[in-house]
């Protein structure tokens, strides 16, 4: 059941992104920024957490989940340590993914060349 919901919700978010790309002149980069901001706002107001618990990977894997994680970390740290936590918490959940992406991208660049 979790798999079906993840497929449906994740697929819908991606399909929506494709509709935005096809029906507007926005570049993929704009669309990704738009989705991240939507996720971040939803995350900041605590709306993304119930959505995550319902759709699981369907909410976690799309880039909206990245934005929501930034807001979630910020809010969590702010509640724990006060206003400065807004900034210390920004990378609490996303920092690890970024570190993995940067570290292994450099490794990939060391060993691989552009295909075309």
């Amino acid at each position: 059941m979790d798999y079906a919901i993840a497929f449906l919700i994740g697929g819908l978010i991606c399909g929506l992104g494709q509709l935005i790309l096809d029906s507007t002149t926005l570049a993929p980069g704009h669309m990704l920024v738009f989705f991240t901001v939507i996720g971040a706002i939803a995350g900041g107001f605590g709306l993304y957490q119930p959505f995550l618990e319902f759709a699981k990977a369907g909410a976690l894997i799309p880039v909206t989940g990245f934005g929501a994680s930034i807001a979630k970390g910020s809010l969590l740290e702010a509640e724990r340590t006060g206003i400065i936590g807004l900034f210390t918490g920004a990378f609490e959940f996303t920092g690890q993914g970024l570190a993995v992406a940067v570290f292994f991208s450099v490794i990939a660049a060391l060993f691989f060349n552009p295909k075309s």
Binding site: Y3, A6, F7, L8, I9, G10, G11, C14, G15, G17, Q18, I20, L21, D22, S23, P28, G29, L32, V33, T36, V37, A40, I41, G44, F45, G46, L52, K56, A57, G58, L60, I61, P62, V63, G65, A68, I70, A71, S74, L75, A78, I83, L86, A90, F93, Q96, G97, L98, V100, A101, V102, S105, V106, A108, A109, F111, F112, N113, P114, K115
Partner: protein
């Protein structure tokens, strides 16, 4: 004098003004027909392709998430290793050039999942290393992912700030 010859040929081409106009009208009608035929099925087809491709990526993510949740982690704790694994997966596919082919066919279905985010970083790192390791790769690997991080932080911290003010 090739230019003069071309000019003479051009003069021979239009028969009468009427015929030329007719041809133009036909061309316009044809273009309209092509545009109509192309647009409608493309929206739907692209949506379905992106839907299925994105859905498959998320289903794979769900399998990884389920694995970590089985180890006794709750969803918030399992999210981090899940993202790490699927990001790594995206990087490996990008390095071998497979993800770019997938992206060409799947569109947003490949771009919206976090693997697409990893793909933009890895692809930029591989592409820009020829401009140097520091100002090429080091500076430009976030050429697509950078705006996502910038506006993610901007809006995320701001939204958290608003919520924090209301909450406290």
């Amino acid at each position: 004098m090739p230019s003069k010859k071309a000019g003479q040929k051009m003069k021979k081409m239009p028969k009468t003004a009427q015929a030329a106009q007719h041809q133009k009208r036909e061309q316009r009608a044809y273009k309209q027909l092509v545009a109509e035929k192309q647009r409608k099925p493309l929206y739907f087809k692209n949506f379905i392709v992106a839907f299925v491709a994105g859905g498959v990526v998320c289903t794979m993510g769900q399998a990884i998430l389920a694995f970590f949740m089985k180890q006794g982690l709750d969803i918030n704790a399992a999210a981090a290793p899940t993202l790490a694994v699927i990001i790594l997966f995206g990087i490996i596919l990008t390095a071998f050039g497979i993800y770019d082919e997938f992206a060409q066919f799947a569109g947003a279905g490949a771009a919206v999942p976090i693997t697409g985010f990893a793909n933009t970083i890895t692809a930029a790192a591989i592409d820009f290393k020829r401009e140097g390791w520091v100002f090429g790769m080091g500076a430009k690997m976030f050429i697509v992912a950078g705006p996502v991080i910038v506006y993610g932080i901007l809006s995320g911290v701001f939204a958290a700030f608003i919520k924090f003010i209301i909450w406290s």
